[in-house]
């Protein structure tokens, strides 16, 4: 395949957002900032169409991977950029395009009237472009480029309302934590280039599969990539930036921190899966991290009071589930959950946005709401659909992916099975708790009755309706996703020009990318039972024992603090950061300025002092000079005489 044969839709994927951004920045922003969203919404539509076209193409067997542009070269070292359109890439791309476009539409109404409207849309769409680039990258360097760009967009959007100190701190925390993760990615990238001499996925897969001995750095590369994924996809121990990132406007939280950016980490692992799977110890590590984080975050989600933070911890938990699926070798399941999670989590976030909008706040706390179901019927209905999908109740979308993960976990047994079961119960618990506390029956501790929430206008509700329907019906996608992942991955030809003019087409024989598990009545029963258990517990804790949420906090402040500080992990992190900052201060101000520079300046002062002492010899007196002359002459004569 040559550059001329690349389908138009692939070019449009990039051309549309770039054109929209340039138009928006150079034309609309200076002249009519409140219209900045128009070229951008148009671009969203184009991108959605293009992604779906590419997905259809891949389903029909037309995946491709080719280099288009030599970015840098020196001697025999070269980095090329190109496009890789294959199964997992287009599957996730379609989800990102659809969900992203709907959130763009929502944001047009949500952010109306904000003085930074233009800036928001430009950065938001820049993020969108970066995500597209990340998903279609065909080598690790290109992926890293877009990965960093996504991080910058996140920084600018979390810190969007920068006059708030909490937003500034959250943005910095998000960026720096991601940077710590990127330490791993960059080092892994360098090691990949050193070990394999190339960074292209297909070539690396080929080299890994066909080498007789494991390359020296492969375990290290795997660990570092997992570390990077933990930062981006908010896994323990680097998850703590995500709850604080809720400081950003709700569309940001919905798109970036639910559906797309945070899934980039999981996507990196999917792309690097042949490398990781080649080291026997790594997949269990991934699964263990995923399982632990899933349970850890689910417990915390059940104890939080801010609506967006509950959803944030829920996202962390579900990302943990995706990692768990991946670690158990179920790549298709991970992709499926990634896609379906995108739909229902985005819907949930936008519903929370509506709730906040009703009380003119960026976010709402359970203390501020209560019993708003009757006033916000549409929002409530969407929320219910999405919640059922999250909890994994058949026939809603989330069931299919949850069920598959539970199946794999139970099959593995042991701690993973226990983790899977716990997460099922807790997911249902926290989402139904959130639903009941917000939409049903105001309790005395809540101010819900006092406020008069109004349902948001149709322009707010329409996108959410579509997202919730997507979340509900996503189960229909199951077989398509399976085909895409299995077929679309293994069928990708990569054309490699070889010196001498002969082309070689590589098809990497990839490790078994498992198909989705067959339907099992046992797992169905167990899963539904656990979800029902969780939902029932939530009903009890919110409707029947209405003040339970407030009572345990009041009666046991120590326990409340434990949950507030994420079992103490936040305190550990704060101490670490303070330690590093203190060390930097020591190095910069004490060691460098006071000690080292002081020593050098001291040498200057010492030289001055020595000069002062020496100049004491010449007091300017004639008699002294005469003495010296006499003494000198006598010495010379004596020396001459001795000779």
């Amino acid at each position: 395949m040559t550059a001329a044969q690349v389908p138009l839709s692939a070019w449009l994927l990039f051309a549309a957002p770039i054109a929209a951004l340039l138009l928006g920045f150079f034309v609309f922003r200076p002249l009519k900032p409140e219209w900045t969203h128009l070229p951008i919404l148009l671009s969203c539509a184009v991108v959605t169409g293009a992604s779906l076209a590419l997905t259809a193409r891949v389903l029909a067997g037309g995946s491709f991977d080719l280099n288009l542009y030599r970015w840098a070269a020196a001697g025999r070292w070269a980095i090329d950029f190109g496009l890789r359109v294959d199964g997992p890439g287009t599957a996730v791309l379609s989800m990102v395009a659809v969900v992203g476009s709907l959130i763009h539409v929502y944001a047009a109404s949500y952010m109306k009237g904000d003085p930074g409207f233009s800036r928001f849309f430009l950065v938001f769409h820049l993020f969108f472009l970066a995500m597209i680039g990340l998903l279609t990258a065909n080598n690790f360097v290109q992926l890293y480029l877009f990965w960093e760009l996504v991080g910058v967009a996140s920084y600018l959007l979390v810190g969007f309302w920068f006059h708030k100190e909490s937003a500034r701190k959250a943005a910095l925390k998000a960026f720096l934590t991601n940077r710590v993760g990127d330490f791993g990615f960059l080092l892994a990238l360098l090691l990949i280039l050193t070990s394999f001499k190339v960074g292209h996925f297909q070539l690396v897969y080929f080299l890994v599969r066909n080498s007789t001995t494991m390359p020296e750095f492969l375990p290290l590369i795997g660990v570092l990539l997992i570390w990077a994924a933990c930062a981006k996809s908010a896994q323990f121990p680097l998850y703590f930036w995500l709850p604080d990132a809720m400081e950003g406007p709700t569309p940001t939280s919905a798109l970036m921190h639910a559906a797309t950016m945070v899934t980039a980490g999981v996507f990196l692992l999917i792309r690097a899966w042949p490398l990781i799977a080649a080291v026997p110890a790594l997949p269990p590590l991934v699964a263990a991290i995923g399982a632990f984080t899933a349970v850890f975050a689910a417990v915390l989600a059940a104890t939080k009071k801010d609506l967006k933070r509950i959803l944030a911890y829920s996202t962390v938990s579900h990302l943990g589930l995706m990692m768990l699926a991946l670690g158990l070798g179920q790549v298709a399941v991970a992709v499926l959950h990634l896609i379906i999670h995108g739909f229902f989590k985005a819907a949930l976030f936008l519903c929370a946005g509506n709730v906040g909008h009703a009380i003119h706040q960026p976010t709402a706390n359970v203390d501020d709401v209560g019993g708003w179901g009757p006033s916000m019927r549409m929002t409530q209905a969407c929320f219910v659909l999405a919640a059922l999908s999250l909890a994994g109740i058949w026939p809603f979308g989330g069931f299919f992916s949850k069920d598959a993960i539970l199946d794999a976990a139970l099959a593995r047994g042991g701690a993973f099975a226990l983790a899977g079961a716990l997460v099922s119960v807790l997911s249902a618990f926290y989402i139904f708790r959130m639903m009941f506390l917000t939409f049903h029956g105001a309790r005395p501790e809540q101010k819900g009755l006092g406020a008069h929430p109004h349902e948001a206008g149709p322009e707010f509700v329409a996108p959410i309706v579509l997202l919730s329907l997507g979340a509900a019906l996503a189960g229909l996608l199951k077989s398509r996703v399976e085909t895409l992942v299995v077929l679309g991955w293994q069928q990708v030809p990569f054309v490699v020009p070889i010196i001498g003019g002969q082309l070689r087409i590589l098809r990497a024989d990839l490790p078994g990318v498992s198909v989705l598990p067959e339907f099992s009545a046992t797992v169905f029963a167990i899963g539904t039972g656990l979800a029902a258990l969780g939902a029932g517990a939530a009903y009890y804790a919110t409707m029947m024992d209405a003040s339970w949420d407030w009572r345990w906090r009041a009666s046991s402040p120590r326990l409340s603090n434990v949950f507030e500080s994420d079992f103490g992990w936040k305190i550990v992190v704060d101490r670490l950061v303070a330690g590093v900052a203190g060390f930097a201060r020591f190095v910069g101000q004490v060691f460098d300025k006071a000690w080292w520079d002081g020593a050098i300046e001291g040498a200057g002062t010492a030289a001055g002092g020595a000069g002062g002492i020496l100049s004491g010899f010449s007091r300017g007196r004639l008699n002294d000079a005469l003495w010296w002359m006499t003494a000198g002459t006598a010495l010379l004569l004596a020396a001459r005489g001795l000779r």
Partner: protein, 485 residues
């Protein structure tokens, strides 16, 4: 080709014209700066197309084999072009300043001397131009700087001069050793290659390392830099950080490594560690600074640490990346110093805590400053990433491991990670955080058209080099091939 002489003679003529011109000095500076840039661009174009080394050699009837020899390959010309470009940027940025004719003359003279350093191929001529750069910089810092300028100027001069003495001793030792071996006195760089100094070789290399290391600056010889940068006027900082720091690296690549390759080879562990220390130490110190200029000065130390990692790696991507990063750093740090200069000009304050809310008052400044900050911390897509990545890629090929990881690459990546930690909090405090009661922000207005134009040019270059570095690399790579192991 006597055109090469023009490359340093034109700005020198401009300096003389400025000194004599009095009130109209800045126009002469502009004219000579533009002419210089045009000449440099033409030379780059010639070199790119012809792929050749342009040279001029005149034997001086001098003692001890000193000759007047200049040559220009892609690497030298890239730095000459950088000098010319930043010189013009400095003239444009200082346009409205109330300064005497001497200011403009100093800048022209500085440009001339720098250009001579990068073109010289005779070690004596090289040394003369090297020392000549100190004089105008001393005056620029000492006469037109801020409050503590006298001390900073003297410190700068004495420190770099002392380093240069070691370099001179080393050069003399090499020339004498060559004469003892072949009976010919020569200071010609190409002829001196492969001189065998025997037991004196490590000492000579140490002398060269000290001389160049002070300029780079290499930790622990770096303490002149923060003071010099803080006290220099904005345009002075731009030239200092943008070009003068590159003299040290240039000297390493052009003089030290080709003349004494075996010593460099055996000292690789130490050299690589020093380079890594630069990257990490510079970043740590930068995190602790409260003065914007000092912060950027320490970040320069960190950036040049990356360049050093690339140089000492001995790989083609490392060396070419380091050469490109020298140009990149000039552009990015030049832009940052310029903007801090604009702030200082308006508010007469430089502290991070002295501002606040500037994103609302000066949105264009906020945009450019943000772009330059991200370029500085190595965001892919902007120029800083290309050089850093190539240098680190070179460093990763070193066989020296530490807990199973290539040690120098590890240090470099730690430096990259820490970069965000010093740059972004400062940016946030200045532009996003609310202004305190004593803040100087009310005095800060947005960019004027002249300033915007300069920053658009610099930003455009940042994006161009970041997205399409291949052409620039093609210019640099042939010159560095000889150093690749």
């Amino acid at each position: 080709m006597s055109a090469l002489t023009a490359l340093w003679a034109v700005p020198l003529a401009g300096a003389v014209a400025c000194a004599l011109a009095g009130r109209a000095a800045r126009w002469w500076a502009l004219i000579s700066g533009a002419a210089f840039l045009a000449l440099a661009a033409a030379a780059v174009r010639l070199s790119w197309q012809a792929g050749a080394v342009l040279a001029v050699t005149d034997a001086l009837p001098g003692a001890f084999g000193v000759s007047y020899k200049l040559a220009a390959d892609g690497f030298s010309l890239s730095l000459v072009a950088l000098t010319a470009f930043l010189n013009l940027v400095c003239v444009a940025a200082s346009w409205e300043l109330e300064v005497s004719a001497g200011y403009w003359a100093c800048f022209c003279f500085l440009a001339s001397a720098l250009s001579g350093v990068f073109l010289a191929r005779d070690l004596f001529v090289f040394y003369v131009f090297w020392e000549a750069t100190l004089i105008p910089m001393f005056f620029i810092i000492g006469l037109w700087g801020s409050d503590n300028r006298r001390h900073a100027a003297v410190k700068f001069f004495l420190f770099t001069f002392a380093g240069s003495i070691f370099m001179l001793l080393a050069l003399i030792a090499i020339v004498v050793a060559h004469q003892r071996a072949t009976g010919v006195w020569t200071w010609d760089l190409d002829a001196l290659r492969g001189t065998d100094l025997g037991a004196a070789a490590p000492w000579a290399f140490l002398g060269l390392l000290v001389g160049f290391g002070v300029k780079i600056p290499m930790v622990p010889l770096h303490t002149w830099l923060p003071d010099a940068h803080t006290e220099a006027p904005a345009a002075g900082s731009v030239m200092l950080a943008g070009v003068m720091l590159k003299m040290g690296l240039y000297g390493l690549i052009r003089v030290a490594l080709p003349l004494l390759p075996s010593v460099a080879e055996s000292w690789l562990p130490i050299l690589g560690t020093l380079a890594g220390i630069n990257a990490v130490y510079g970043a740590l110190c930068a995190m602790a600074q409260t003065d914007l200029k000092r912060l950027i000065a320490y970040s320069s130390i960190a950036h040049l640490g990356f360049c050093l990692l690339g140089v000492f790696s001995g790989t083609s991507q490392g060396l070419t990346g380091a050469a490109l990063q020298m140009v990149n750093h000039g552009i990015t740090t030049g832009a940052l110093f310029l903007m801090v200069g604009f702030l200082y000009e308006r508010a007469h304050k430089r502290g991070v805590a002295d501002f606040g809310e500037l994103a609302a008052r000066a949105p264009r400044l906020a945009f450019f400053f943000g772009l330059a900050t991200f370029a500085s911390i190595g965001l892919p897509g902007l120029n800083g990433f290309v050089g850093e990545f190539m240098c680190l890629s070179g460093a990763a090929e070193s066989p020296i491991l530490f807990v199973g990881v290539p040690f120098f690459a590890l240090l470099g990546v730690v430096g990259v990670t820490l970069a965000a930690a010093y740059a972004l909090p400062a940016y946030q405090t200045v532009f996003w955080a609310p202004a305190g009661p004593g803040s100087a922000s009310p005095r800060v207005g947005d960019l004027r058209p002249r300033e915007s134009a300069i920053l658009w040019t610099l930003s455009g270059l940042m994006l161009w080099i970041g997205l399409a570095p291949r052409g620039w690399l093609a210019l640099l790579e042939p010159s560095l091939r000889g150093l690749v192991k």
